[in-house]
Symmetry: C2
Subunit: 223 residues, 2 copies
């Protein structure tokens, strides 16, 4: 039974203040996206890897992968308007019905083998698995009037990827209409009426969205 | 009117897996605590700096500061059982009634001048100022039964230090009995019936509590 990985790298954005979308920026000499691909390939070379890219960047990435002689087998799929549509396009490109599918942010190159193992194993057992971490900072809630108050941080978890699900059930969940509250795949799954099973993530598994994040990732990778 | 800074470095802990409390660990060749002191001194040399240390480490730090020829004027105060008691000891060591007091974690050496300026200015105007950041990860709440559900992360802020307050009002707030819900100084202030004014923090202002944090701080400091 094949397991699939949809790596979402469909941004065109320039939140990093760079011309190039952040998944293509260099981290220790290689594009971030290549590091991410290699993490999964190293964990299990039999995983079916799918990279979802902005339509403007599919040819760009395929050329870059050829130039860099990337020898990690993967397919590319064109993304949609929102992350939700990009994941849906990825799911529709998979022919299998059974197995697990992992949805992962292209800009999280530091997911650990231990996190991957926890996610795939728990998803096989519980139908879903989402890596998460406790909140280390104090937290406050804010309301529309600008008031804020302390909340008990032990009641919250920060969520990472890969978010793993039974493939066919997730495909059904993504037949729902798009909703602004879908900030990640777990929220789509939950809105479809399914329970989300949390597992432990790893602290280094940061999402690179700012120049500071890129510096931190470089430091963690040098370890 | 003098402004005071209480730097809380009263941990004995070994969460870092090191023999030495983390505030004394080396970051780019100097103890973390020294970097933290220097941030405030560089921002405004007229600030009155107070370092609260575990009773077992007061002499250790004073010796270390002498050995390293630390020329940043500061006082040391012995801490108490919990952070709350350490801050209270720091407050009781201040003779002034007026002015602003900033309470800062000793293991946050990367607070920016801009954050410091926002905090001191807003505290003078509003009575309190607490630096905070939006939540970038998806977030879920968890209950005692292990159930979890998506929450709207835009309704929450992660809180940093320095948390700044009108000195005499904060001293009154710290006359309250200790309460487990006091995870930071803002929660003490709020429990005393006062509104907390949030200002923008800076992303690099991380709290160094793990070896990964230390690596990230090194990378950010090298910038």
């Amino acid at each position: 039974m094949a397991h699939h990985v949809i790596i979402v790298a469909a941004g065109k954005g320039s939140r990093m203040g760079e011309a190039l979308p952040k998944q293509f920026l260099e981290l220790n000499g290689e594009p971030i996206l290549l590091h991410t691909l290699r993490r999964f390939y190293t964990y299990d070379p039999s995983l079916h890897l799918i990279v979802v890219l902005h339509p403007d960047y599919v040819a760009f990435w395929n050329d870059l992968a050829r130039t860099l002689r990337v020898d990690i087998p993967h397919r590319t799929v064109a993304g949609g308007a929102e992350r939700f549509h990009s994941v849906r396009n990825g799911l529709q490109s998979i022919d299998d019905r059974d197995g697990i599918v992992a949805i992962h942010d292209g800009v999280r190159p530091l997911v650990s083998n231990a996190t991957l193992q926890r996610c795939f194993e728990a998803a096989a057992q519980h139908g879903s698995a989402v890596p998460s971490l406790p909140v280390h900072e104090s937290m406050r809630s804010v309301d529309a009037h600008g008031h804020n108050q302390a909340v008990d941080r032990s009641r919250y978890r920060l969520v990472q990827t890969p978010q793993c699900f039974q493939l066919n059930d997730l495909r059904s969940a993504f037949e729902q209409d798009y909703n602004d509250a879908f900030t990640d795949d777990a929220s789509v799954w939950e809105h479809f009426g399914r329970a989300v099973h949390l597992v432990e993530g790893n602290q280094e598994n940061l999402k690179i969205t700012t120049p500071e994040d890129l510096k931190m990732a470089q430091a963690l990778m040098a370890k």
